[in-house]
Amino acid sequence: MTLTEPLISTQDVCLHYGDDVVLHDINFSVSEREIVTLLGPNGSGKSTFLRILIGALKPTGGQINHRNGLRIGYVPQRLSVDANMPMTVDRFLKLGKRSRKQTKEKWVEQVGVGNLLSSQVSHLSGGQLQRVMLTQALMADPHVLILDEATQGLDQPGEASFYRLIEQVRNEQGCAVVLVSHDLHVVMSASDRVICLNGHVCCEGAPTIVSAAPEYRALFGLGTEGALALYRHDHDHTHDHNHDGAQNRDANHKHDRDHDHKH
């Protein structure tokens, strides 16, 4: 087990649905203990790319490699819990493979879902469901945690505490983390790399740790305690943005600042 070998890597991955090119030329890798944040506007293919990473979707072209025996802890955006399927949180957690009772108890306590064990999964709030999903992912003792917009339903303090938990897990367990952020500018400050995706990799870099200056408090709210950071995009190209109607209207996607629009 070489430390230098990435856990997951892709070369020139592309995905087409007929004539529709969703992803192209994606070269990506994640190594042990790395935290990588993926962000991009709606419809950019980030969730699709995540599905390729976890092996749920086969790319149309290119290669994807998993290290031998790789264990992935996947935290999906939602669970298609049919109202017809009864499922307690406890039973759901037991569905994962080979987790010993002590492992389960440890994570239940650390993530804080102990009081939810006998609740029905379909009755959980957004934040509660995310924590349950995280618990099941951690119970698999993963090499890499992959989270799909895990903080979408949470308010800023909730998001910050979730990120702090992830960072703690990375520090204690040594696993890598790939997370898709639902926000275009605000990311987990502990990210080692941020990748902006919109069909392909638009830019890549490190987040800017925001100072404790009061001007930024308004932006980040109280109680975030440095868990959030800004990411400055650095695009040398543009995309065809249709600004008609509600279709591409993403409130977070601002066209000022560093984006020069030429193509």
Partner: protein, 278 residues
């Protein structure tokens, strides 16, 4: 057959040769229909069930044409249709419509083919609505063998099936092959259709799958509970339906489904009254 109501002969009735055989066969069916029905409900596969069971009529026609036992003909067609649907369902859009077309066209084709092949006018109602009272000892063996096979298959793949039902991506990340689990379900459905066609008939197979499961939902907190309770309600429906057909002189297959329907209504009444008291 006249009976004195509320008499100790109730027990004797069930031990009566043909009634007991019918009940035994029905229990075998309920054993498999319970858990499989739960998956049909959870995964919204009722249309798939219809497509396979209606196409089974073509299997009947085949078996008449080739002088095979109807069970073999139905099993072959059911497996082929199940396989075809499993392979295509990921790739096609508007699957519901296609399945509806396939189901009803194959049913009609089967009816036409049977009328042409049988020479004498064949009473098709036994294939459409079942003829559970005519089960032989051999039939019981087939029903139980098919059911036990189905149940064994479901138990073997239980966790992967549940996980891929909850979230196919989660299942893939855990290393399960989602398409393979879907194929397992479709094959189980094919076996159940072949087994059930003589008991409840092609038109009522989906009912016997989904109604006990839907009724069981009310009382369940986990998927396993729902599967077991669905079996219990299935057995109760078979028993009540057979008694109903005996007392009221109604056709037995539909009576079983009526009984299941009544249990479904009762279960929901219980749920509604629970909500009021809470």
């Amino acid at each position: 057959m006249r009976l004195r109501p509320f008499s100790p002969t109730l027990l004797l009735i069930m031990l009566d040769d043909f009634m007991f055989r019918a009940f035994l066969a029905g229990c075998g069916l309920a054993l498999a229909a319970g858990p499989l029905g739960c998956f049909v409900v959870w995964r919204r596969m009722a249309y798939f069930g219809d497509a396979i069971s209606h196409a089974a009529l073509l299997g009947v026609a085949l078996s008449l044409g080739f002088s095979l036992s109807p069970f073999i003909g139905v099993l072959v067609v059911a497996v082929i249709v199940a396989y075809g649907i499993a392979r295509l369902s990921g790739r096609l859009f508007a699957v519901d419509t296609l399945l509806g077309v396939a189901a009803h066209v194959s049913l009609a084709l089967g009816l036409v083919a049977v009328s042409k092949l049988s020479g004498v006018r064949l009473d098709l109602s036994s294939y459409l609505f079942g003829d559970i009272l005519a089960v032989t000892r051999g039939d019981i063996v087939i029903v139980w063998a098919g059911s036990l096979l189905t149940v064994a298959l479901l138990i073997w793949r239980w966790v992967p099936l549940l996980t891929s039902t909850l979230n196919p991506d989660l299942a893939a990340a855990s290393g399960h092959k989602v398409e393979r689990e879907q194929m397992v379900l479709m094959m189980s459905l094919a076996v159940l259709v072949a087994v059930a066609i003589k008991l409840v008939g092609a038109l009522l197979i989906t009912a016997i799958l989904i109604i006990p499961a839907a009724a069981a939902r009310v009382f369940s907190k986990t998927p396993e509970q729902m599967a077991v309770i669905a079996i219990v309600i299935g057995v109760a429906s078979v028993g009540s339906g057979l008694l109903l057909s005996l007392y009221a002189d109604t056709p037995s297959g539909p009576s079983i489904v009526v009984a299941a329907g009544i249990y479904f209504i009762l279960a929901n009444a219980v749920m509604a009254s629970r909500r009021q008291t809470v």
